[in-house]
């Protein structure tokens, strides 16, 4: 082979010296020098390098990276000539898999080995790794933001040691994939992946950057990595942090049973989108989102926080099980209009109140009870609004009772939590046409008490300022559940009742149901799933915003934010990218042509977005888990891909 010499030491073949650095692009790294010829095969070169290094090690993952061409030399049967490598090539002999830190949608970091040589394996290996992110094609990687401020040190879950069994679907062990059950750390990691995180610290929330305009929202989308090129080619270094996010807002076949990790991560991404105001919502919607995050409800009550032994007996008739349970007690009642003072009892009068089946009757006194009540209200179909201030010891139930003539308002004021919880639960059931005999009554009472106890420890009371991490660890801080602009708008004690009100409708949901509901509500927002880019339309003199959603392109006025025009993918004939002038041209039915150049992001990203959505829309037809990766690359890849 290469390197034949004469006795005088001159080389007599056409061999030349090739210098190869060992390691990951470190110029200081040790290097080996080989004699090669143009006919040398890459495989042979690799062998020589290893011999030269002469160290016992598993080299199987190593390959040669050609720095100038930003290319891996992976075809071992190719010759140096075929690759066009000459003596001046800077080659690095390094591992193809290197550790990176992946920041998940839930903002937790995970260290793992990622392939730096294969463009898609990072994403496509996720299902196996996490065992439960189906449809990884919806995910993609983002470059880390340029560092402006230092973010707090995060705990990094380490998955680099995990050994995956090849090929087969991961085996479940103790409710999690077997490879997670190896150690306590990996187990914790799985829980992190599959369970929602506690509400963030409100202070942190305030300090995190939030987009203040459409233009800000375009920033995120300039950072997507190219899915047809490997990490190495895109300048990612070992140990870098990459963000993993759901890129395409087209979630196929979302099934809580089969992929808890996917659902949880999607929920987390939705939550952070809302908390960081990446997507706008109204006040009412925010309260629902907040309520759905509350760790309450029978399914969501953790071990802590609930006093299991709530005495329920007094409210159930002891004599017989068949009797219809009823509540009777002295309560203060206020009718018509709202009570004047927040905490005063002004306007309230005490009555003897009887609550049976779905009907509430009240009497002047207990003695008159057998007679005609002062008023009798059937609570079926009524609105029940909690009006509670735990620290102020105010436990009111506001009832809006419909009648043929309209609605009548009634405030019931209870003395303490226990009484409140029982009556409240009764009212809620009655409003749905159910009685206290309903099996859900007890759990309803529990849920109410649990929620109250969260408030007691949380920000329900004095705090007008978001509390620090210490306080929020204990109970519920409502500021951790809403976007910062609501922190400014409401005091905590105003916010809590609002969340409480919304919470009553979702208190019975299990954890996954709540997550799913959250995702659905997020998807129902008008601005959901739109990725923004700043572009310049052909023939226009100003920059505009292009929104890309899963079914359409939207032209948006940059200054006002109004939608100017919408084109649907279903009407799209073809699209072309002119890589030289960085222009995307799209043709729709009826000879509508649109062309624009991309300003805020490379036109590759726009191109990949469009192609990606088109690809995802083909999934419906070819039901199946198998993905047509080639088609994906064809649709999303640039000219390099071919």
């Amino acid at each position: 082979m290469a390197g034949m010499k004469t006795a005088s030491g001159d080389y007599i073949d056409s061999s030349w010296e090739l210098r190869v650095f060992v390691g990951e692009e470190d110029p200081e790294a040790e290097s080996v020098t080989l004699r090669v010829t143009g006919e040398s095969h890459i495989g042979g070169v690799l062998l020589k390098i290893v011999e030269e290094i002469n160290r016992k090690q598993d080299w199987s993952d190593h390959a040669i990276w050609w720095e100038q061409k930003r290319q891996w030399l992976l075809q071992t049967h190719w010759t140096l000539d075929k690759y066009g490598i000459l003596a001046d090539a800077r080659l690095f002999f390094g591992p193809q898999h290197r550790p990176v830190i992946l920041r998940l949608p839930n903002r937790r970091a995970l260290r793992l080995h990622a392939s730096f040589s294969n463009p898609r394996t990072v994403i496509l290996s996720l299902p196996q790794l996490f065992s439960g992110i189906r449809h990884p094609e919806e995910l993609s990687l983002l470059r880390k933001k340029k560092k402006k401020e230092k973010e707090p040190e995060e705990e990094v879950y380490d998955l680099t040691q995990v050994v995956l069994a090849g090929g087969v679907a991961p085996v479940l062990f103790r409710g999690m994939p077997a490879h997670f059950s190896d150690s306590a750390q990996t187990e914790a990691c799985y829980h992190m992946l599959s369970r929602p995180q506690p509400p963030p610290d409100p202070l942190l929330l305030q300090h995190l950057p939030r987009p203040s305009s459409l233009v800000d929202k375009t920033q995120l989308h300039s950072r997507w990595l190219d899915s047809s090129r490997c990490l190495m080619q895109q300048g990612v270094k070992a140990g870098d942090m990459l963000w993993l996010r759901f890129k395409y807002y087209s979630f196929f076949d979302l099934d809580p049973k089969t992929d808890p990790v996917r659902l949880t991560q999607l929920y987390e991404q939705a939550r952070w989108d809302l908390l960081l105001e990446e997507i706008d919502c109204t006040e009412e919607e925010m309260m629902v989102f907040a309520a759905l995050q509350v760790p309450g409800g029978p399914g969501r009550l953790g071990v802590a926080g609930v006093r299991a032994s709530i005495p329920l007996t007094p409210l159930l008739p002891q004599d017989s099980l068949t009797a219809i349970p009823e509540l009777k007690d002295h309560l203060r009642i206020f009718r018509d209009g709202s009570p004047a003072g927040e905490l005063t009892l002004k306007g309230y009068r005490q009555y003897w109140v009887l609550f049976k089946e779905t009907t509430l009757s009240y009497y002047k006194s207990q003695d008159e009870a057998p007679g005609d009540p002062i008023q009798q209200l059937n609570l079926k179909g009524c609105e029940v609004v909690p009006d509670v201030n735990v620290s102020g010891q105010k436990f009111c139930i506001k009832l809006l009772v419909p009648s043929p003539e309209g609605m009548s308002e009634l405030y019931l004021r209870c003395q303490d939590e226990q009484q409140y919880a029982r009556w409240m639960a009764g009212c809620r059931l009655a409003s749905k046409g159910r009685t206290m005999a309903d099996s859900s009554y007890a759990s309803e009472v529990q849920a109410i008490l649990a929620f109250l106890s969260l408030q007691r420890t949380g920000g329900g009371g004095s705090g007008n300022h978001p509390q620090g991490p210490d306080a929020s660890a204990e109970g519920l801080n409502p500021y951790g559940l809403v976007a910062p602009r609501f922190q400014r708008k409401f005091k905590a004690k105003q916010l809590t009742p609002r969340i409480l009100e919304a919470h009553q409708n979702v208190a019975q949901l299990s954890l996954t149901e709540a997550q799913l509901r959250f995702i659905q509500a997020w998807q129902s927002l008008p601005d959901f799933g739109i990725s923004y880019f700043m572009v310049r339309f052909k023939g226009s003199r100003k920059d505009e915003i292009l929104g890309i959603a899963n079914n359409r392109l939207i032209r948006i006025d940059l200054a006002v934010g109004d939608v100017v025009k919408t084109w649907r993918f279903s009407n799209m004939r073809q699209w072309n990218v002119n890589w030289d002038i960085r222009q995307v041209a799209i043709e729709f039915d009826e000879h509508i042509n649109v062309a624009f150049s991309c300003v805020s992001a490379s036109c590759r990203i726009v191109h990949e977005y469009i192609g990606g959505y088109i690809f995802l829309s083909t999934r419906e037809r070819a039901r199946g888990e198998e993905l047509d990766e080639d088609l994906f690359l064809q649709l999303t890849g640039g000219h390099e891909a071919f």
Binding site: D280, G381, A521, Q523, D527, S570
Partner: protein, 649 residues
């Protein structure tokens, strides 16, 4: 027999309910819950009486006693006959089938009726599987019935109409039941038993059976509040009894059965709701064409994802100010979570929006003639209120749109936001139902269509039975025509409304009614919209009765009671009957003969029937209003009896 006595008990109490209805002829009456646990072993009349006494205070004692006596006697007789009938029936199945429609004149004529029904029912049971649609398939296509016949019968004064195949009343059920008087679009009424488990879909199916209409997806139950001048569709998944229980005792509210294209407009032309690009507004009906495939994918996209997409809808609407007759123009936006408006001086970004209303506790209604009643800027109003509110109240929200298209978009948008995917599921069920119906329709179509044509021509333009929302209807109809439906069906449907009215006329004839308390005049809110044309006038004079008026039983069937007195003018609608079925209803050839015989009532023996074409399904068209309710009921009853017998033997 021990077993069957249960059924009989049940039926008996139901019968009593019918009587109650007749007597009171109120729109909706709550029946006393039929004895919840009828004695198992015995045929216990006392149960019936007890219920009756408790519940029917309104009934006069004398009448009651008399009726009861009849009933008791008749029922046992009926039982006997049923058995016989069963035997007979096996021999001449087809014929009898056609005649099954028995005219139940009500309690008085019950004895006669019972006989008739018994026979007819038995046949059904034999021939026909419970699903009403199926039976038709079995039957050979009937030759178009001789038009003259029907006429003759009508003239005779018999008002009965073909009754339908088994209804869905489930006898074992002992919970709350209502007798609901449903106003048909021909101004007739039908009384139905609705139990508290039944959804609007079930009731519609029931009505399909009773009317033999074409079963297309536009048929809906429709509630109108004359006092508030509002109205809306029942959604198919709504529990009918629950809705009706919100009505007050003395309510004027009504339930209608009619076709509304708005009901599922979004599924027929989703592009009109989802692709409502700006700039198209000014065009009147920019009825964008879209091919079926695109529609389907648009629907799938909107309704089959993880969450339903609510159409983007925003614009200036007028809002009626609380308690005043003034209207304020505001900019409203529809979101999945509710309706929002832009407060003064704010932008329409999400964070500035103020919530106007959320949908959880309100239903959406069309407002009728708000221009006149509330000085609304236009008549295109929709109303949001809690279903229990029945009187004017500040809690009722009135909104007013600039035009019909906008109105329809808002109403549909709100329904999508409120009901979500359920709406789509309802539609698919309705489509499935319609598909079933159209299958056998097409069989009969050939015959039917031709005869029908003339009738349709006459009626169509002039009278719009669904007058409720004239404006809306017109707009919608223009828009919605093409698409989904097959051309033929569409054709047939349209004319239908016009035709339907006519049948009403026949009822009026029977003078005997007088004795019965006059039923409340059937009037629709529609009156507001269009001129309620007297249907009778159009009708050609009834052809001479070929078969034999002689046969007709002298006693006019009590059912007539239902027929609104208004129509009393001597209606020679018979021709209509013949024509109607064909034109209006998919199953074209009206088997008028079958009807007739029943009218004859008592005498209708098997022998007579054979001549008639076995077309009972055709009749559906003839919504002869009044009587049908009772008949169905009786036939159900008999059918059940029959079954029991069958099992036992």
């Amino acid at each position: 027999m021990g077993e069957s006595s249960d059924d009989i008990d049940q039926m008996f109490s139901t019968l009593l309910g019918e009587m109650d209805l007749l007597t009171q002829s109120l729109g909706v009456d709550t029946l006393p819950p039929p004895d919840p646990k009828p004695p198992r072993a015995e045929f216990n009349y006392s149960v019936g009486f007890k219920d009756l006494n408790e519940s029917l205070n309104a009934l006069e004692d004398q009448d009651l006693d008399a009726l009861m006596a009849d009933l008791v006697a008749d029922i046992s007789e009926a039982e006997q006959r049923t058995i016989q009938a069963q035997k007979e029936s096996s021999q001449n199945q087809h014929h009898s089938a056609s005649t099954e429609a028995s005219n139940f004149s009500g309690a008085a004529s019950l004895g006669y009726g019972a006989n008739v029904t018994a026979t007819s029912v038995s046949q059904y049971v034999d021939d026909l599987p419970p699903p009403p649609a199926d039976p038709v398939l079995d039957l050979p296509l009937p030759p178009p019935p001789p038009p003259p016949e029907p006429l003759s019968q009508v003239t005779g004064g018999a008002t009965s109409r073909a009754s339908l195949t088994g209804s869905k009343l489930s006898f074992p059920w002992s919970g709350l039941q209502l007798v609901v008087k449903v106003h048909m679009d021909d101004n007739s009424t039908k009384s139905l038993m609705v139990d508290e488990r039944q959804l609007a879909r079930d009731v519609l199916d029931n009505l399909f059976e009773k009317t033999h209409c074409d079963c297309n997806v536009d048929w809906c139950l429709y509630e109108i509040y004359p006092e508030l001048q509002i109205e809306r569709f029942f959604e198919d998944h709504e529990n009918v009894v629950e809705v009706l229980s919100d009505w007050t005792r003395d309510t004027e509210n009504k339930v209608l059965f009619l076709e509304k294209e708005e009901k599922y407009a979004v599924f027929k032309n989703p592009q009109n709701f989802y692709l409502n690009n700006k700039g198209k507004k000014e065009g009147k009906e920019t009825n964008e064409k879209m091919n079926a495939k695109n529609k389907e994918s648009l629907l799938e996209e909107s309704f089959c994802g993880t969450s339903v997409i609510v159409p983007e809808l925003e614009g200036a609407l007028y809002l009626k100010e609380d308690g005043k007759k003034s209207w304020k123009r505001r900019y409203f936006l529809l979101r999945a979570s509710g309706i929002y408006y832009v407060p003064k001086g704010k932008t329409k970004t999400s964070r500035d929006l103020a919530c106007f209303i959320q949908f959880e506790n309100v239903n959406i209604y069309y407002g009728i003639q708000c221009k006149m009643k509330y000085k609304a800027p236009t008549d295109y109003c929709f109303v949001l209120k809690h279903p229990q509110i029945q009187k004017e109240s500040q809690y009722i929200k009135y909104l007013c749109c600039d035009d019909a298209r906008t109105l329809n978009q808002w109403v549909m948008g709100i329904r999508i936001a409120k009901y979500g995917k359920t709406l789509y599921d309802n539609y698919q069920r309705a489509m499935a139902r319609a598909g079933l119906a159209s299958r056998w329709t097409s069989l009969g179509t050939v015959n039917a269509v031709t005869p029908a044509q003339p009738c349709t021509g006459l009626k169509t333009g002039a009278t719009q039975p669904n007058g409720q929302i004239p404006q809306a209807v017109h707009a919608a109809s223009a828009v919605l025509e093409e698409a989904q439906r097959q051309a033929e069906t569409a054709k047939e449907k349209r004319p239908a409304p016009g035709n339907h009215r006519e049948p009403a006329a026949p009822r009026a004839h029977p003078a005997p009614r007088a004795s019965l308390p006059p039923p409340p005049p059937v009037r629709r809110s529609s009156d507001t919209g269009g001129s309620p044309a007297p249907p009778d006038d159009f009708l050609p004079p009834p052809p001479p009765p070929p078969l034999g008026d002689a046969e007709l039983p002298p006693p006019p069937p009590p059912e007539l009671a239902d027929s609104p007195p208004d129509f009393v003018p001597p209606p020679p609608p018979p021709p209509v009957l013949a024509g109607d079925p064909g034109s209006a209803l998919p199953p074209p050839p009206p088997p008028p003969p079958s009807l007739r015989p029943e009218c004859a009532g008592p005498s209708p023996t098997v022998a007579k029937r054979p001549p008639m074409p076995p077309k009972r399904h055709d009749n559906p068209g003839l919504p002869a209003g009044g009587g049908s309710g009772e008949q169905d009921f009786m036939s159900d009853l008999m059918k059940a009896l029959q079954k029991k017998r069958g099992n036992m033997s």
